[in-house]
């Protein structure tokens, strides 16, 4: 496999080329100039074009620097898995807010992070999850009057 394929710059550059192309395509369908002056397509067309140019430069840089002798920084998959698991727990917490409400969803997320990701004891994880959730409820809902997402349970 070519060295540049493993570079973040190469893939992020390609993603931004695609985003720039999308911006230009959309801006093209809006008016560029109106009788009153620049239209809604004016500004996006310019920055979309600049985005394509700069991201192509980034991609070209990644390809040209793809010297196999250069030290490569490999993706640490176990680290990435841990990060993605945490992010998934956060997304799941958001998805559950309308069903279980903030207090229960937040407690579940906290328990998951402490017990599963940090491998701490169940006693500690449950204690901090319940304490944290009730603390948030007491501070924001009761003391400050902030409306927290409510579900069927709480």
């Amino acid at each position: 496999m070519n060295a540049f394929i493993r570079r973040g710059d190469f893939w992020s550059g390609l993603t931004l080329v695609a985003l720039g192309a999308y911006i230009v395509k959309e801006a093209w369908s809006w008016e560029y100039l109106t009788v009153d002056g620049p239209g809604p397509g004016f500004f996006p067309l310019w920055y979309g074009g600049a985005m394509i140019g700069l991201s192509l430069l980034l991609v070209a840089g990644a390809v040209l620097k793809s010297d196999s002798a250069a030290p490569q920084k490999h993706v640490n998959w176990s680290e990435l898995r841990r990060v993605l698991t945490c992010w998934a727990a956060f997304v799941a917490c958001i998805a559950l807010l309308n069903v279980l409400g903030f207090v229960v969803s937040f407690a579940l997320m906290t328990w998951f992070i402490i017990a599963v990701l940090f491998r701490k004891s169940q006693r500690l994880a449950i204690g901090l999850a319940v304490g944290g959730a009730l603390g948030f409820y007491a501070l924001f809902s009761l003391a400050l009057g902030v409306a927290l997402p409510a579900g069927f349970l709480f």
């Binding site: 620049p38 500004f43 996006p44 985005m51 841990r82 945490c86 992010w87 958001i94 990701l117 999850a129």
Partner: protein
């Protein structure tokens, strides 16, 4: 209103019970987040911003500013005791601060850091008070073309100074501009980049992007396992924290250097406190009679950068409040806060809202005194915060982010966007894309497009309106700022080639 009467009015505002309490909360919170590595002022201010919508704006602004400059005081504690900067501006303090602590002089290092921060922070506020009003007067002559050029220069400087890759900085800024243009175009009522979602017609809230990128992105980045660092002990008792008379004498120039360099660098949009502290350290070393001691525990090497990063805070408020141009991620969030409260930072800000401006200035004098009092005797207490385990802190940050976004909009859609921007923030960190240009592009994008379109409407599409003397000068400066690194790069490449040939 002259400076003295303005300041008296400011103290009247800042010394009211509520505002004093807000100032205490702000500086205390700032110190705490400054001490905690991995949680910076932008993330904290972004998370608290939605909650401050319920507060009176002057008090809320006093609190948010307190967090901003309070964090600079707290940041040195971990640099000195752990060799880990609490926030980016305290990186340089590690060089001599940690060495002093290793030699048993942690108390003197912590003490001189607090004293330098107090002196430079206070002198910075004096500078803000004296320079902001005349600068605002001067900029009253500005109209749409001048504003457009100012925003271009602001963005250009941030991009220039935001990391190792200029291309990545520019791309991050363009993504920010793209997010800023999402929603309904106010000139033509055209829906732009809404993906057919009615929830996007009003655009994407700045708060969602800022909390996602700074707070969630930070938590995700810190989920990667890290080696725990060993903390050096904090000396007990105020007496052991006070520097000696000789230390104070040795730091005379460092106090002045830190104050001046920090304030001047702060005024320049995009330079930031990290550059201010590096610059003042470099100057201090260059003029020192014993430069060889720097890096081995020279007390001036702690005083100069710590002073500079505190004076920079006041300096950075000058362009923010008088021109509406933020110079960093944190000041961009403060600008968003002012706009959300219904204020318009710019030339008329001081004359339209004197109570807010002068109240803020006076609160910064008070806040700096509070921080000196807090940081000298209570440093051991703050150091205990470093013992809070990551597994307890991260869920709290995620919870705060959820509450912050939900309390602002009660929208589940925005919580979904929060998760998306969190992932983006993490990806940006891993791929070395700077976050500050994105946030600035987002904050300035809308106003920049408006200024550009208003300018071209004024001239009926004639672009020469942007080449009137003031905007032309500013655009020229922006162009130079963007071109110079290309030459530097070219030069570096040339030198590299020459080396290889040799």
């Amino acid at each position: 209103m002259d400076t003295l009467s303005g300041l008296l009015q400011g103290f009247d505002v800042a010394l009211s019970g509520t505002n004093l309490a807000m100032c205490i909360v702000g500086v205390l919170l700032g110190t705490v987040i400054g001490v905690l590595p991995g949680l910076g002022p932008p993330a904290t201010i972004a998370m608290l911003l939605p909650l401050t919508m319920r507060l009176e704006p002057t008090g809320a602004m006093i609190m948010l500013a307190g967090i901003y400059y309070g964090a600079k005081y707290g940041g040195s504690t971990t640099s000195i005791l752990l060799n880990v900067p609490g926030e980016s501006a305290s990186v340089v303090t590690c060089l001599d601060g940690y060495q002093m602590a290793r030699k048993g002089r942690a108390g003197a290092a912590l003490g001189i850091s607090a004293i330098a921060s107090f002196i430079a922070g206070t002198l910075g506020v004096v500078g803000l008070m004296l320079i902001a009003p005349p600068l605002a007067q001067l900029s009253l002559a500005f109209s749409a073309p001048e504003y457009f050029a100012l925003m271009v220069i602001g963005l250009a400087m941030v991009v220039l100074l935001s990391g190792e890759s200029l291309t990545k900085g520019l791309l991050a800024m363009l993504v920010g501009l793209w997010i800023a243009t999402m929603g309904t175009d106010l000139f033509s009522a055209t829906s732009r980049f809404t993906f057919g979602q009615t929830a996007l017609l009003g655009g994407i809230d700045f708060i969602v992007v800022a909390i996602g990128i700074f707070a969630i992105g930070e938590v995700l980045a810190n989920m990667e396992p890290q080696e725990p660092a060993g903390m050096l002990p904090v000396p007990k008792g105020l007496k052991n924290l006070l520097p000696t008379w000789q230390d104070m004498k040795d730091c005379r120039f460092a106090f002045v250097n830190g104050s001046l360099v920090g304030f001047i660098v702060g005024i320049l949009p995009g330079a930031g406190s990290t550059i201010a502290s590096f610059l003042s350290y470099g100057i201090e070393k260059a003029v020192s009679k014993h430069p060889e001691k720097f890096g081995t525990g020279a007390i001036e090497g702690v005083a100069a950068p710590e002073g500079a990063n505190n004076a920079e805070t006041a300096g950075s408020l000058v362009p923010l409040l008088t021109l509406g141009i933020p110079g960093s991620g944190t000041t961009a969030i403060l600008l968003a806060a002012l706009v959300l409260w219904g204020f318009k930072p710019g030339p008329l800000f001081i004359s339209d809202t004197p109570a807010l401006f002068w109240g803020l200035v006076a609160s910064m004098y008070i806040g700096n005194v509070m921080l000196l009092i807090l940081n000298l005797p209570l440093v051991a207490v703050f150091a205990q915060l470093l013992k809070i385990p990551a597994y307890a802190m991260y869920p709290l940050i995620l919870g705060m982010a959820l509450v912050g976004v939900y309390s602002d909009s009660s929208s589940m859609f925005k919580l979904g966007l929060l998760a998306l921007f969190g992932a983006l923030g993490y990806a940006m960190r891993k791929l070395h894309y700077p976050a500050a240009p994105l946030v600035l592009g987002l904050v300035l994008g809308d106003a920049m497009e408006r200024a550009l379109r208003q300018s071209l409407m004024m001239s009926q599409g004639d672009i020469s309106i942007l080449f009137r003397p003031i905007p032309a000068g500013l655009l020229l400066v922006a162009a130079v700022l963007l071109i110079v690194p290309l030459f530097k790069k070219f030069n570096a490449m040339r030198v590299q080639v020459l080396d290889q040939k040799a």
